[in-house]
């Protein structure tokens, strides 16, 4: 009995040691793999966070919204010799630049001619170029989430400027297509298409635009007015709003896209 127990015990101990050795031999490879996987997961989380927090300003693919927000998916950001980092006089690395910009936001635009925002000149003292995000300063995101978004933005650096081609459903109505375009073109970054509220920006609400548009300019149908508002925003300035905020670059859009957006906006009406 004693001998059998000792033999089995020894055998089991040897087996355990073999297993631990095997785990040990594999350990370096596993650590490297886990590190890579954690980075991949971080990018996945960052993509989702970017999608919920940043696209209204920076565009779905970080392409920026002219006149509103700079592109992030741009070679200029990743060019550490002549790009944004040296331009702004930032002395740290690019990841630090991105991380700290997100964490602290931008009280004052570094390119006021292109992208508005300056708490110092805003009468209410709130209109920063970009809000801050870190919970350390009272923002909504944790620092690990900011790191996730940073990793996601840095991933654009592998092919900066490349825009993903988003497949479109083959049989969609112009209204459905227009709804997507309204977001992806960046209109949603300034305009709220829902019933009420301006989304915190000095841009008119478009929740009832189909009714409103018909009354704006004598003799202009709603469609024509909306069309003009997009391709030539300065032709009619909505009372109470300023010229030169809505970008003038939309005139270069393909006509089918403009038509789809108009079709969508024509569905925005209150009884």
């Amino acid at each position: 009995m004693i001998r059998t127990q000792i033999t089995i015990g020894l055998l089991l101990t040897v087996l355990s040691m073999v297993l631990v050795t095997l785990i040990g031999l594999n350990e370096n490879a596993r650590l490297a793999r886990t590190t890579e996987e954690q980075m991949a997961r971080s990018i996945m989380r960052g993509a989702a966070l970017f999608n919920t927090n940043c696209v209204v300003c920076h565009g779905e693919q970080g392409q920026g919204i002219p006149g509103r927000c700079p592109p992030l998916n741009t070679p200029e950001l990743f060019d550490t010799k002549n790009g944004r980092v040296p331009q702004t006089g930032w002395s740290g690395s690019l990841p630090d630049y991105i991380r700290s910009t997100i964490a602290q936001g931008r009280l004052r635009s570094t390119r006021p001619d292109q992208y508005p925002g300056n708490t110092a000149t805003d009468p209410a003292g709130v209109a920063a170029a970009m809000p801050l995000w870190s919970q350390q300063y009272g923002g909504p995101l944790r620092d690990d989430q900011i790191q996730d978004i940073t990793n996601f933005i840095l991933n654009w650096g592998k092919a900066p400027g490349r825009m993903a081609e988003v497949p479109e459903p083959p049989q969609q109505t112009p209204e459905q297509r227009g709804q997507r375009l309204f977001t992806s073109l960046g209109c949603a970054g300034c305009h709220n298409p829902q019933a009420s509220g301006d989304g915190g920006l000095p841009c008119p609400n478009l929740g009832n635009i189909s009714n409103v548009a018909a009354t704006r300019v004598q003799g202009k149908s709603a469609q024509d007015y909306i069309h003009e508002s997009i391709v030539n925003p300065s032709a009619f300035i909505v009372p109470g709003y300023q010229d030169n905020i809505m970008p003038k670059t939309f005139k270069d859009l393909p006509t089918d896209q403009i038509d789809a957006v108009i079709a969508y906006l024509m569905t925005r009406k209150q009884q």
Binding site: N28, T35, F152, A164
Partner: protein, 565 residues
């Protein structure tokens, strides 16, 4: 001349050399030293005695040097010199008390190692876990062992209690042993529970939030206890620190103290009980006599325990090497209640009770009563015998009521646990539920299991998509086919969807459909937009809701080439 007698010196050297070269000299020297060292290490056992031990032979000296060990060695003094054979029968104890101790030790060792890499602060705790997994050699191994050991300990302790109950071993004179045992059970449960919070992931955060909010329901003291545990109205930095200190200091300390008391009672005062049939003479005389024989701790039981140690270690190592993985969800987020929050499995029964009654009664009063009854088991038992003027007996056939009650209690616990399983979820519209099934918030769903390369870029619609017949199906095809089936099945089983579908058909509107829009979003990153659109039917007005008002599911999933699974 100089008084230097070279000749005698030479002689000295010669005899010295001779001695050095003789085999006998070395032999005695080595045996002597060996013998000495062996005795020093083993607490007085000679080498031949050791040999006899390993062979299982009788002691070589008198008085029995093995008994001497029990007074000379600290570790052996804790253990009794001998047991009665019956109390060592495997089917009597199932070694469950032993395994409880084993897991407690495993937890202590692995826990101390994990402590090195852990800081109890919400800012870094989760990052520490990631670091343990990706940067600390054997870090994952230790963490998995620790988690597995925790579950093992809860199981072993509970079963140990069950066996003590079933063999009637809690009865006079072992009432106090039982009492300390229940304290150990509570310590074990709270150790597990407090450890649950430390990774600071969603699983931890919400399980502990439900757990502590139960305390809140307690009359009078509730909010105070809750505040004491959490350190603030919500679990945050203070709560984490408190749970950490409970987990690594107070509870282990309590555990050690009570374990010492518990085991002292068992080993020194009463011994392990004999099986009732032997103690009460319900077996043939020769069996009884054999059951009452002495078995020495050294070597018989010691060898057995070393075998158990090797076995326990091997099972743990193998489980961790081959299949067991400690879960880690995403970072704790107080603002985001998961769709399904779940208490640790050993507290599911409380969740089950909460479903059938109110928070105070089911969450506080009943569990307190249950543990109160557990404490009182030996005394109730005694009272019962006194009431019916019976002689106390440990035999199963004399304890029909007691054993039936235990079985009923077990069945109730199992049922409550099953009832408690997935709970506390928010009721979600079916579209969202389907999206959640295919890509859950936490962990991996079917969509995460499709390899990155097999995701085709494009727009896929359940109305038009067909299963490929001209080529072997990919993982994408299989999963999308499941998705399609799931959406169509919902139309059949969900009455609101079904009615909406009928009305929509009459009006020539779109049918229910789901679609995946797959985009190569960045290098090595694909975006899958899952949309599910149905015709929402308002039972109040018997009408379809206008598109504007109806909800539809829109979920965006990202898959990175290297995220692993």
């Amino acid at each position: 001349m100089l008084g230097l007698d070279i000749r005698s010196q030479r002689q000295k050297v010669q005899t010295w050399l001779q001695r050095m070269l003789s085999w006998a000299f070395w032999q005695t020297l080595i045996t002597e030293r060996l013998e000495h060292t062996t005795r020093a290490i083993t607490g007085g056992l000679s080498t031949s005695e050791l040999g006899a031990l390993l062979r299982g032979a009788a002691p070589t000296e008198k008085p029995n040097p093995r008994y001497r060990l029990h007074t000379k060695s600290f570790w052996f003094h804790i253990r009794p010199r001998y047991y009665q054979r019956g109390s060592t029968w495997f089917t009597h104890t199932w070694r469950l008390g032993w395994f409880s101790t084993f897991f407690f030790m495993v937890e202590t060792i692995t826990g101390l190692i994990l402590m090195i890499f852990y800081t109890p602060s919400p800012l870094v705790a989760y990052g520490n876990m990631l670091n343990i997994l990706s940067n600390v050699p054997f870090g994952k191994f230790m963490r998995d062992l620790h988690r597995l050991g925790a579950e093992g300990m809860v199981i072993a302790v509970t079963l140990h209690m069950l066996r003590v109950y079933l063999t009637g071993s809690y009865k006079n004179p072992r009432q106090f042993t039982w009492l300390t045992g229940v304290v150990l059970l509570l310590v074990t449960l709270f150790l597990s529970f407090s450890g649950y919070l430390l990774p600071w992931d969603q699983l931890a955060y919400w399980a502990v939030t439900i757990g502590t909010s139960m305390a809140e329901a307690a009359p009078v003291l509730g909010t105070r206890v809750n505040l004491l545990l959490r350190g603030s109205p919500d679990i945050a930095a203070n709560g984490l620190l408190r749970f950490y200190l409970l987990h690594v200091f107070l509870l282990p300390l309590l555990g050690f103290v009570f374990l010492m008391v518990h085991y002292y009672k068992v080993s020194r005062e009463h011994g392990i009980s004999l099986p009732a049939a032997i103690e009460e003479g319900d077996v043939p005389v020769d069996v009884r006599r054999r059951g009452e024989e002495r078995v020495d701790f050294i070597p018989d039981l010691l060898t057995h325990e070393i075998l158990l140690l090797a076995l326990g270690t091997f099972i743990m190592v193998a489980a961790v090497a081959f299949f067991f993985q400690a879960p880690l969800e995403s970072h704790a987020n107080p603002l985001r209640t998961p769709l399904h929050t779940q208490a640790p499995w050993y507290f599911l029964w409380i969740q089950g009770m909460l479903k059938i009654g109110d928070k105070v009664l089911m969450g506080i009063i009943l569990p307190t009563v249950i543990f109160g009854l557990l404490f009182a088991v030996p005394y109730i038992d005694e009272f019962w015998d006194w009431l019916w003027k019976r002689k106390s007996s440990r035999l199963g056939k004399n304890r029909r009521l007691g054993i039936s009650l235990a079985l009923v209690f077990i069945v109730i616990m199992v049922v409550l646990t099953l009832m408690g399983s997935p709970t506390w979820g928010i009721v979600t519209p079916p579209g969202q539920e389907i999206a959640q099934e295919f890509s859950p918030e936490e962990g991996e769903g079917p969509m995460q299991r499709i390899p990155y390369e097999q995701y085709p870029v494009g727009y896929f619609d359940t109305r038009t998509w067909t299963y490929p017949t001209d080529r072997p199906p990919t993982e994408f095809d299989k999963t999308f086919a499941e998705f399609k089936a799931r959406v169509e099945q919902e139309v059949q089983h969900n009455s609101a969807w079904k009615r909406g579908e009928e009305l929509a058909k009459q009006k020539g509107l779109d049918a229910v459909y789901g679609a995946w829009t797959i985009t190569e979003w960045q290098q090595d990153l694909k975006q899958i937009r899952v949309t599910i659109d149905w015709n929402e039917f308002d039972p109040a007005t018997e009408q379809l809701l206008p598109d504007e008002k109806s909800v539809f599911t829109d979920k965006t999933v990202y898959i990175h080439r290297k995220f692993g699974d």
